[in-house]
């Protein structure tokens, strides 16, 4: 029982990150009707950018020392006499990393936004108005380009990257069971959920969000109503690549950095279809369900089995509910 609860909570934490990745796929789909098969590779780039600005740049000879490790006097004083694994020490370790974490996040966000813009402007924009099939195939081609480029650019072995929050172990009791968590995981979940909620609210209530929704409903009508559809396209791609950057940073701290990060995109694609492509709520639930299922599978059957959970889940859901848990069924006009 205690184990079940523990693994469920682990699953929810993983699910939140899936949701954060999924939000990028859903946003691009809503605006452009294109499912971005290469989204996982955008995330991989986010992870590598975070690594670059949080590890490589601070290590460089020209970088100031405080960037690599910030050690103001008061922090040194507080460290005096602390035991090795005390929570406070972990917080202080994290504080020392804060400058490079911030630099890493800022760099990842900016670079990924630029990458998203470049992809949209140079590759997707020329295909605007043509078949969606071609656009989706183009993202398939992007997979190879991005994956190959990452291997060309970042040849060095990835090192440890600083986690976004203090990684103190947290132990608490729930329903009489002791639950054990890491602070960073909890923080990651909170960050992911906040961003997810923020985007849902933005799409629902802000002007640019409404433009996205209008474009989703009917591109040419939106265009004729004075909505700049190309702008909506770029915004959606920037939204996807920046949320992807955060997700990449989080994944880098959780799973390490490797070209295999791109594969996350495919499991999340499965999750997105399971939830129903254009429904944020459905996708959120699907992400959580898959996260928990994966954690439980890992507990019962081992890690390899966990890897195919999203794929089996999506096949089952598609066969039962073709448009996902919450997807809108399109009525075809004949």
């Amino acid at each position: 029982m205690g184990q079940l609860l523990q693994f469920t909570i682990n699953g929810l934490m993983a699910g939140a990150i899936y949701a954060l990745i999924a939000v990028g796929i859903v946003s691009v789909f809503k605006a452009t009707r294109v499912v971005n098969f290469a989204h996982g590779y955008l995330i991989m780039f986010g992870a590598y950018f975070y690594f670059t600005f949080a590890v490589l740049v601070p290590q460089a000879a020209w970088a100031p020392d405080w960037l690599a490790s910030w050690q103001p006097g008061w922090m040194m004083d507080m460290r005096e006499g602390l035991p090795m694994f005390s929570p406070l020490a972990a917080v202080l370790d994290w504080l020392a990393n804060v400058p490079r974490i911030l630099l890493g996040l800022a760099g990842a966000l900016l670079c990924n936004a630029a990458l998203g813009l470049v992809i949209e402007r140079t590759l997707m924009r020329p295909l605007m108005g043509q078949s969606v099939f071609a656009m989706i195939m183009l993202t398939v081609g992007l997979i190879s380009i991005l994956s190959g480029s990452a291997q060309l650019i970042w040849t060095s072995d990835a090192e440890f990257v600083p986690s976004l929050a203090p990684n103190t172990p947290i132990r608490f009791a729930l329903f009489g069971q002791t639950i054990f968590l890491f602070g960073a995981d909890l923080a990651n979940m909170v960050i992911a959920l906040l961003i997810f909620a923020g985007i849902v609210l933005m799409v629902r209530y802000t002007k640019s969000g409404i433009a996205i929704r209008a474009t989703a409903e009917d591109q040419s009508t939106a265009y004729s109503m004075g909505i700049s559809v190309p702008k909506v396209f770029s915004r959606a791609w920037v939204l996807a690549s920046t949320t992807g950057a955060v997700a990449g940073a989080i994944l880098a701290t959780r799973n390490g950095i490797s070209p295999a990060l791109g594969l996350f995109g495919f499991s999340v694609l499965a999750i997105v279809l399971m939830g129903g492509l254009d429904s944020y709520l459905g996708v959120f639930l699907a992400a959580m369900i898959v996260g928990v299922l994966e954690a439980l599978t890992q507990w019962q059957l081992g890690g390899e089995w966990a890897g195919i959970v999203p794929y089996v889940a999506v096949l089952v859901v598609i066969l039962i509910r073709p448009h996902g848990l919450f997807g809108a069924k399109e009525i075809e006009r004949i």
Partner: protein, 356 residues
Amino acid sequence: MITGNLKTSYGADEQVLDNRWKRLFLFSAVLGLGGIAGFGNDYIILIACQMGIMVIAVTGVNVVIGYTGLMSLGHAGFVAIGAYATVIFHNAAGGIIPDGVLTLVAIPFAVAVAALAGIVVGLPSLRVKGLYLAVATLSANFIILFLIEESFSAPWTGGMNGINTPTPNLLGWALDTRREQFILIAALAVLALLGAQNLFRTRVGRAFIAIRDRDYSAEILGISLYRTKLTSFAISAAYCGLAGALFAYFYARILPEQFELQLSLMLVAAIIVGGMGRMMGPVFGVIIIVMVPEAIKVSFGALAGGGAELAMIRAPLQEIAFGALIVGFLLFEPFGITQIMDRALRALNRWPFARG
């Protein structure tokens, strides 16, 4: 130049090779294959074998993506099934069926297993269109590889470590050199292409195209979407299964990692480059998709004699080249090389009176 339509029967009008350039092309292609089998050096034979196997698989992908308009990103899974089914069949039936017949049974067996798998994987196509299907097939690819790698199937598949493959034997003729295998591969590739060409001259193939072009209109003509889509998937998977069987015979050992998403993407890239929904598309596409990495390899070899560092760069460069081919063709020549060839052929037919 063509000066008029001089056909005297519907039969003549229904011919595929309806002008002399096409006939000339076919004869020279067959001659070329014979030439390779007879005089090609080891390197040429190796490349030609790889191309032959790929052509069969890409023809299968073409049936489903190009002609039926169903997106699939999981066809490497069917190639894997064909390859493993062949090896498993050899190992299981080795003592029972005489060696000379074994290959002749193993290949149809592998094709049939792949076709069955195709029907299963194609099931979602009954409920959903394009995109969902792409993800469903992608998922199937992951699941198939997982099933091959997992420890419960390791006794038959060798798991992650792969498994050694048998030598094909046709009625006592052991094809133990690559040159001999090339004859088998080339013959089957030509047959596979002819089969596909025939398919689209009849009701079966026409129904596929009808579904691609306008599915409700196909339905109104009495074409069952369910049956037709599954048939398309089965045929396409069967082609990939055949390619898989030849793949297993050709290499000394097969590993699950050879059939990952990368291969599925390569098959899709080949069909986009060659020309979707066109008979010669797979041939042109495969030539490019195999030659570009080779060209990169050769030019790197010439540059530095192949240092370890350069080898590190080579693999990603090849990967980028695949992607760039897909993207470039989609942007600039969406109908692929076949389209370019068509233009050239038209110009040739009108020469010297008009160009283009």
